[in-house]
């Protein structure tokens, strides 16, 4: 079982390397060698596409976990800076601090004003620490709440990008009320009189994710995951074996398709060939179009309708059998 996306994608990374080399050779070689070089490139390309096809056509739950965590996958700010204009990042919870694991602010989306919020991962070591691996602290959720309230005050739709392994589990977060912060953020989302769209772009990690995901429309990228517990944590509890993540991922059925089948999300957004990380432009367009369509659908709903639609949708979640009372 591969433990990381890099490990799992090794065959692809190898062929990418070979392809790169072949292309360099092609640039330098003489005209007579050109045909052979191009044939080689075509061969590698086809091989690469075949491997992608094999690897990505039927990703298992664990592979989805790995892909959802891929370091080259577009993160929240990548979508925000591409899909939005006039973005002014706003900071602070007006209580304690400014959390860099959650970003947000005012922006225009296709000429219309919105509030945008997202969990932000870091791409290099320093940035990852700066973002606390997208594990938000209480002040992150309280910043989100403040922005949600601002959205409500000025009748701005909300777009949120969900991408977190979990909320920050540290001692400091505990003492400043990480539980309360998550709960209050969920509560606020249900009280909103404006449309909200959440897009799960990578990891939808338990309470940390739901804190900004209780939206009128919840969209989920094809290879992103959404889970009540990280598979490693589940494996540790069930089999005392964190390494059994793959087994746990299968048991948890944390894929977008599974969430859709159970009515827990509204839509699965297809990823480009080989995953979102292979084609930022396409996936960004997909996400942009889906947000646009969702906002358009919600546009006709009154504030009361929006609250009711949100309530009814989440109210229906759960599977119970109801027998006549036995007592």
């Amino acid at each position: 079982m591969a433990k990381s996306w890099k490990e799992w994608e090794k065959p692809l990374l190898e062929i990418d390397e070979a392809l790169e080399k072949a292309r360099e050779i092609a640039k330098k070689c003489s005209p007579t060698e050109q045909v052979a070089a191009e044939e080689r490139i075509a061969y590698f390309e086809q091989r690469r596409d075949n491997i992608i096809r094999v690897m990505y056509s039927r990703l298992g739950p664990w592979e989805k976990v790995l892909v959802a965590r891929a370091e080259t996958r577009p993160y929240a700010l990548d979508y925000i800076t591409t899909l939005f204009t006039d973005f002014v990042e706003l900071g602070g919870d007006r209580r304690f601090g400014d959390d860099h694991a959650i970003v947000g602010g005012t922006a225009m989306f296709q000429g219309k004003p919105v509030i945008v919020v997202g969990q932000q991962k870091g791409r290099n070591i320093q940035d990852r620490q700066y973002r606390n691996f997208a594990m938000a602290k209480p002040e992150g959720y309280r910043k989100a709440i403040r922005l949600f309230e601002m959205a409500d005050r000025f009748r701005l739709p909300i777009v949120s990008f969900v991408d977190t392994p979990a909320a920050d589990p540290g001692v400091e977060s505990e003492s400043r009320g990480i539980s309360e912060a998550i709960a209050a953020s969920i509560l606020k989302m249900f009280e909103l009189n404006v449309p909200s769209v959440a897009v799960i772009i990578g990891e939808g990690g338990s309470g940390g994710a739901i804190g900004i995901a209780a939206a009128n429309k919840v969209l989920m990228l094809e290879h992103s995951v959404y889970s009540v517990i990280p598979p490693e944590g589940c494996a540790a509890i069930l089999w005392r074996q964190p390494a059994e993540g793959a087994k746990a991922a299968a048991a948890l059925q944390l894929t977008a398709q599974s969430a859709l089948d159970r009515g827990l999300i509204d839509e699965v957004l297809p990823e480009p060939f080989g995953g979102a990380h292979r084609d930022w432009e396409t996936v960004t367009k997909t996400v942009g179009n889906a947000i646009e369509a969702s906002l358009h659908t919600l546009d006709s709903l009154s504030p009361a309708d929006l609250r009711e639609q949100r309530y009814a949708k989440f109210r229906a979640m759960g599977r119970v059998a109801e027998a006549a009372p036995s007592a």
Partner: protein, 269 residues
């Protein structure tokens, strides 16, 4: 029944306190509401004991008793665990919901029982909490929820996580209707339950020394290397951190709830 942490029965007349390990007269112990007379340790209660010591005698009537969990994910061993918990506890899931009166005031209530799979919240617990809050909202009566949970029920996967959203949405309904909602944290109130409906109650009381926290093992590991207070993740720590209103001894809980309930419904009558 005292759940997992039940005071050990020595013989019919005696029990051993789980706090100080001293031997206590069972009758005195029970008359003291299962609180040790020697060290004050609050032993866990079954839902039925809680209902009995809290509400007007015989006033509790159960609702939603027919709700049962569905093993929708066919999760390893879930069905067996459910069945054994049902057999052991005599209830169908970790929360019992219903109606009762408190000094004559009608309330909607839910009581978690930790002895049922660690009080974990799956679809059934989430549904019962939601209905409890909805009944409060509809009738504009107070909701009183006794929490006791290790968190979400992993075995129901994402469905369990969504109970966080669903139950919290029901709190919004209470707020909209102006129905007061009081949560009582008992030992333990953790993770997915703490991070949803439990923490957004209008008033939060807690029993002394109850475990109250978001993160489990991971934070515990960190706590070992960091300097943290002795009562970290206890009710008293939560009080100091501003997260709960009051730590209330079990013998004072009923009267405290009664005062609160009468004041909070008073303004809207």
């Amino acid at each position: 029944m005292l759940g997992k942490k039940k005071a050990t029965g020595l013989d019919g007349s005696f029990v051993q306190c789980l706090g100080c390990k001293k031997t206590l007269f069972r009758r005195e112990f029970e008359e003291n509401l299962f609180v040790c007379q020697m060290c004050g340790h609050h032993h866990r209660l079954s839902w039925r004991q809680r209902a009995e010591i809290t509400f007007d005698e015989g006033s509790f009537s159960e609702a939603d008793a027919g709700l049962r969990s569905v093993d929708t994910l066919e999760f390893p061993e879930y069905r067996e665990k459910l069945e054994s918990a049902i057999a052991k506890t005599g209830i169908n899931d970790s929360v019992v919901s219903g109606r009762a009166t408190l000094d004559g005031v009608p309330v909607s209530t839910a009581i978690a029982d930790f002895s049922f799979m660690g009080g974990s919240m799956g679809s059934v617990a989430g549904e019962k909490i939601t209905r409890t809050l909805e009944r409060a909202a509809t009738d504009r009566i107070p909701a009183i929820v006794f929490c006791a949970s290790g968190g979400a029920r992993m075995q129901e996967g994402l469905l369990s996580l969504m109970q966080m959203a669903k139950t919290t949405a029901a709190v919004a309904k209470c707020r909209e209707a102006g129905a007061p909602y009081i949560a009582v944290f008992t030992d333990p109130t953790m993770a997915g339950v703490l991070a949803s409906y439990a923490s957004v109650a209008d008033v939060i009381l807690a029993e002394p020394k109850s475990l109250v926290g978001f993160a489990g093992a991971r934070v515990a590991a960190q706590a070992q290397v960091m300097k943290v207070p002795d009562d970290f993740q206890k009710a008293e720590f939560a009080l100091r951190s501003g997260m709960i209103d009051k730590v209330v001894e079990r013998r004072a809980m009923r009267s405290t709830l009664s005062s609160l309930v009468r004041v909070l419904i008073g303004g809207s009558r």
